[in-house]
Symmetry: C2
């Protein structure tokens, strides 16, 4: 019997996870600070409270897996409570940056039982109203493999992801952050840039905008609060990704101006997009046993090459 799950934060990700875990027949309950979401969850038949201390005391008694599902800006106060009321529980999170999160966990003395996580799922919607028990089905869920991690907690967290239909990608926290800066945070800043440059062309430019502009600016429709929180929490990784993008654009600008050619950037981009299309199918990591030998290095290497775990 899997241990119960205690989810702190019932927004889109946390709330969907509560639905998904309960749908597998497992015991789970949630906490949310605002009572509105708690009442909405309850009226849908879920076990929810807005008393953080009580929720965590219950987790400690039941030896539950505690999942932090609040925005990065609210993590410290939640960790204060975890350290006080449930310091020995296995602990994970679904926050979109991993190095800063691991640092916060370490600052609260909770690293020994902690494994970071990041389900690559979500929409621009938010709150309990948007929750979906199928949100994690066929999604990619990163589970951190940093030096010295506890193999039992790692297995517990990876199984949570697998149990709700995701595949697990193992990655070191800092490598995760650098990767998502390129494929998840940079896309937002480029979309914002395209929207702003288009609008600076006035009503004529916006009138002439068609499919390439519409697709390229879609995520600029996301709430600025969410985008800023996501980007600012990964400042180091995103700065490096921005530098790479700026360098390529400056080179393209020079090539266009000096040689009337965009071929170098366009060829590189087209090749890259084809590589992305070609590897949409994942490959399974089958040669690593959790806790045996140098499993940490082996898992990180496999994740770096695009491998996933589909079962444990």
């Amino acid at each position: 019997m899997d241990r119960p799950v205690c989810i702190l934060g019932l927004g889109l990700i946390g709330g969907s996870l509560l639905r998904a875990v309960v749908s597998t027949g497992r015991i789970a309950w949630g906490y949310n600070r605002s009572f509105g979401s708690v009442e909405a969850a309850r009226s849908d038949g879920y076990d929810a409270e807005n008393d953080l201390e009580a929720v965590l005391r219950r987790a400690a008694v039941a030896d539950a897996l505690v999942v932090i599902a609040v925005p990065m800006t609210a993590v410290d106060s939640v960790l204060d409570a975890v350290a006080r009321y449930a310091p020995n529980c296995a602990l994970t999170d679904v926050v979109s940056v991993k190095a800063e999160m691991a640092g916060a966990v370490a600052a609260h003395g909770l690293s020994a039982r902690y494994i970071g996580g990041h389900p690559m799922a979500g929409t621009s919607a938010s709150g309990w109203i948007a929750t979906d028990e199928d949100l994690f089905r066929n999604a990619v869920w990163v589970v951190s493999v940093d030096d010295g991690v506890d193999p039992d907690v790692w297995t517990t967290v990876a199984r949570l992801a697998l149990s709700v239909g995701s595949v697990v990608v193992p990655a070191a926290s800092d490598e995760h952050d650098r990767a998502v800066a390129r494929v998840s945070h940079l896309p937002h800043l480029l979309a914002e840039t395209l929207a702003a440059v288009g609008a600076a062309g006035g009503d004529l430019a916006l009138r002439l905008a068609a499919g390439s502009f519409r697709d390229g600016t879609r995520v600029a429709g996301t709430s600025p609060t969410l985008v800023n929180a996501m980007c600012e929490a990964n400042a180091a990784g995103l700065t490096a990704a921005l530098d790479d993008a700026i360098e390529r654009l400056v080179q393209a600008r020079e090539a266009l101006s000096n040689d009337s050619s965009t071929a170098e950037l366009v060829d590189a981009g087209h090749t890259a997009r084809r590589r992305y299309d070609d590897q949409l199918q994942w490959w399974e990591i089958t040669d690593v046993t959790i806790g045996v030998g140098d499993w940490v290095t082996a898992l990180r290497d496999a994740g770096r090459r695009g491998g996933v775990l589909q079962s444990l």
Copy 2:
């Protein structure tokens, strides 16, 4: 009775225009250099030839409207033939840059009867096989209004666009080029950049890429030959748009690095995208009569403010 239409080039745009014009009951015929497309058009019941001289002599006899629908790189040789065999026909084009096209027309002594055009329609598909008689329905079709244009030819060209279901946006050639650089050419270079930066993050980054990356790189799947031809023909406008984009990204990079904030760019982008959504509905220009008073300036002003003509 509208004059017949002679279309030079039967690719996606020219071929679709032949289908669309014939479907309105008007006489039209086409030329294509490769005989494969001519045969394909004929087997679909259309009047097509690969003898450019014969096609243009027929246009001269019938006083047809001649439409240039070949890539910018093939425009000069087509204009040579127009100047020789049909110099007095009304002339337009569907090429995606307008200033360079107008310059080529002027170099062939054909400006007096020429009005540039650019239907903002098309897909990443190409060739007769991709043609569609409804391609221009509800599309925006730019018709150039430069100083000294002939009001009768202007009306002829605008009516062609209206007859196939498009709305007409009047714009000066250079203003058109600057606008499409921002909303139609820059989106391609940003998509290529995002794809390349993502792939530079390796298989892990591509494994973690989700909706924002997929949407943001979609047009990087377009054939590099088409993208380069489009971008390189609008070098001046695109260089300015790139400079604007690079400046915004450099400022965002500094703000992120110095103040841990992405708010300025994100707020500007979000506001811009909302402005784009808000003006998807067009407004109709009703206070300008073609050929009367300073109609050229009045049309340009209205087009600059996002107005369209829905009838003439």
